[in-house]
Symmetry: C2
């Protein structure tokens, strides 16, 4: 080594950044008699000036629940809660993640209403609106406080629970985003009452996914009430939603790597094909429906590869069907599906890793995909869907 | 409480996100014989595909060091380091933080060259380029790997060390940004050799700041070599730069709140007026020069308020002068200066808190500002500047 290198010097620091995540289940949280919001937004001490708040509301939700905007305004008015400065309506669904102008609108509102790091952006909506508005809020002043009000089954048991947000760019899903921890995630079951039946049912595919991967007893619990869930029985669905949300949160909080910095994450079970199917159908297929198909595909692949036995494979197909969810789709045979594998690997980085099932409740990561077996799995599903 | 509230249920999780920060000092790191980059970019294991890299280079740096692009290309070619896929030149200084098109260019390059979370964006430049390119990289795929090559004194002892990045929006400095931890920060002293004398000197104002706040012995060390530093003596400057960078990093890593989530941060000593002066002079005044003036202003204010004694106040003014830095500016008397206080408070959130000096080495936070005393301090500086 040359003499110039004797001056080299390294200082290395390992440190942790502390976060608190609160997940709250209740109903009618906007009812002025319900004290739940006081525990979230209450003033820290009397010296602090009253902070501000803007609400970003999923237009689809606002239309389905016509009194919502008024309820929000009433709940925050004349209270010790932050001062509500504007309610912004934004289009729901994937549209809001595809349109950069929506991010700009939210940033401009944050600036206009002087929302600072002690102030709030309250987001009411499904996963897509939570993702897009959460991304804007997480970059303004390097992150203002976010409270997520999850308004769909899918959001309450999965999408709203995590620490991610993001928007689509270059026609790639979630190409741009951040990891950020909301102050609180509020799952108000009264918001689920206005969901149409498709958007009610689709959420439960994420519960099937996590049960398949981690918990055979939970799979049985879902199976026990699948017919009631299909018919929108909230009492039957409530424990499934809460258990799924909790499992999801525990995975993030105790997995040791919530911001996915250390390990290359495997492609989520059922999701490599699901993301691709969504975009191939121009989002005609909803995320939860696509995941239901993706679960069936990865289960068939696990079965044909000698991992998952016939009986367990059939139980998974049967559960998905009983929940009123699709198990196949005509576009599965389109070659663009397979091309999605590489796009997904690139988003996650590192080697290609997909998750399969050894049995219900036990997922396993593998590093290669046999494309012929994928095609065989697709034709098995086609015949089962009949 | 009404019966509906009996269903309320909360799940709370406190968790930490682990980060590693590496700060490396050396010279000629792009020399193929220097092994330093191997320790940063080396392949994790042989199974992993070779990752990719794009370099973002400060145009001012590239012009001052004509061989730089070629050196970068040569260092990464034919090695076990990541594959260099493009070198992007971007304008340096505040211009690059004011132009959203630069963020778009960097994101597009990340997409075009398939830079994933296991791949790298290497940024060569001063604080502004590190901030802007770092922001783009921290949002692509929710964060690809960033290695910062700090090319100015200011960056090596302060700006590059932290965990922040950001760009200006709505004419507000750093309105949009993220907290993100680079894989490594590399301070190559050979990159300082092409700095003009103004940009050499300005960096040391941040060393004076941190010494005033925390460490009287460090203040004495700077004072001992101030005349040599003014004349660009690298051997005299080296220990000052390294000590300052280390203090900065320790503050971030061991302060317990690196992402500034828990506490409202006080306005940094000397900085409330500095940020404002920069924009009021259309960035004619550099950041470090503005900080030098801001330090003198907050010191005068501390002295006039009965905190800092006359002798210590004079030592600070004398040190700033000996470093070849300004102590005052004609625009200090402009009313827009004071208006900047509120804008700064809003960026940080919470109550207005500024930091003053009780003595050299001991900062103190206070919550109110006497505007008449600010004006008096300004006229004291005016007369001292002569």
């Amino acid at each position: 080594m040359s003499s110039t290198h004797t001056i080299a010097h390294e200082i290395r620091n390992d440190f942790g950044v502390p976060f608190t995540h609160r997940l709250l289940f209740d109903r009618d949280v906007l009812n002025p008699e319900n004290p739940l919001l006081d525990s979230i937004f209450g003033r820290e001490d009397d010296d602090t000036p009253r902070s501000g708040l803007i609400a970003v509301v999923d237009q689809g939700l606002a239309e389905a629940q016509p009194g919502l905007e008024e309820s929000i305004t009433r709940r925050f008015a004349g209270s010790d809660l932050p001062e509500l400065r504007e309610v912004l309506l934004v289009p729901g669904g994937e549209a809001c993640k595809n349109d950069p102008a929506i991010i700009e609108r939210i940033l401009a509102a944050i600036e206009r209403h002087r929302i600072d790091r002690r102030s709030y952006v309250a987001i009411f909506g499904g996963g897509a609106v939570l993702d897009a508005a959460g991304f804007a809020a997480s970059t303004a002043h390097r992150g203002v406080r976010v409270v997520r009000f999850a308004s769909t089954v899918l959001a309450q048991l999965d999408a709203a629970i995590g620490v991610k947000n993001g928007v689509n760019r270059f026609k790639k899903k979630n190409f741009v985003g951040t990891f950020d921890v909301p102050v609180a995630v509020i799952c108000d079951e009264s918001m689920l009452e206005s969901l149409d039946v498709r958007h009610w049912r689709e959420g439960f595919s994420e519960a099937v996914k996590i049960a398949c991967l981690q918990d055979a007893a939970f799979f049985n619990s879902i199976s026990d009430v699948a017919d009631l869930i299909r018919e929108r029985d909230l009492d039957a669905a409530r424990p499934i939603i809460r258990r799924c949300a909790q499992m999801h949160l525990e995975h993030i909080a105790s997995g040791g790597d919530p911001f996915e910095r250390l390990e290359a994450r495997p492609l989520d079970f059922g999701h490599w094909s699901a993301h691709r199917l969504e975009s191939m159908t121009d989002f005609e297929l909803s995320h939860g429906e696509a995941v239901a198909i993706g679960i069936c595909l990865d289960s068939a692949y696990s079965h044909l590869g000698g991992r998952l036995d016939q009986a367990e494979f059939e139980r998974i197909i049967d559960l998905v069907k009983r929940l009123g969810l699709p198990i196949s789709h005509p576009l599965l045979v389109d070659d663009r599906l397979i091309a999605g594998l590489e796009e997904f690997r690139e988003h996650l980085g590192g080697r290609l890793t997909i998750t399969l099932l050894d049995e219900i409740g036990r997922g396993v990561d593998v590093n290669d995909v046999d494309l012929d077996r994928v095609r065989e799995s697709i034709s098995v599903l086609g015949s089962l869907a009949g």
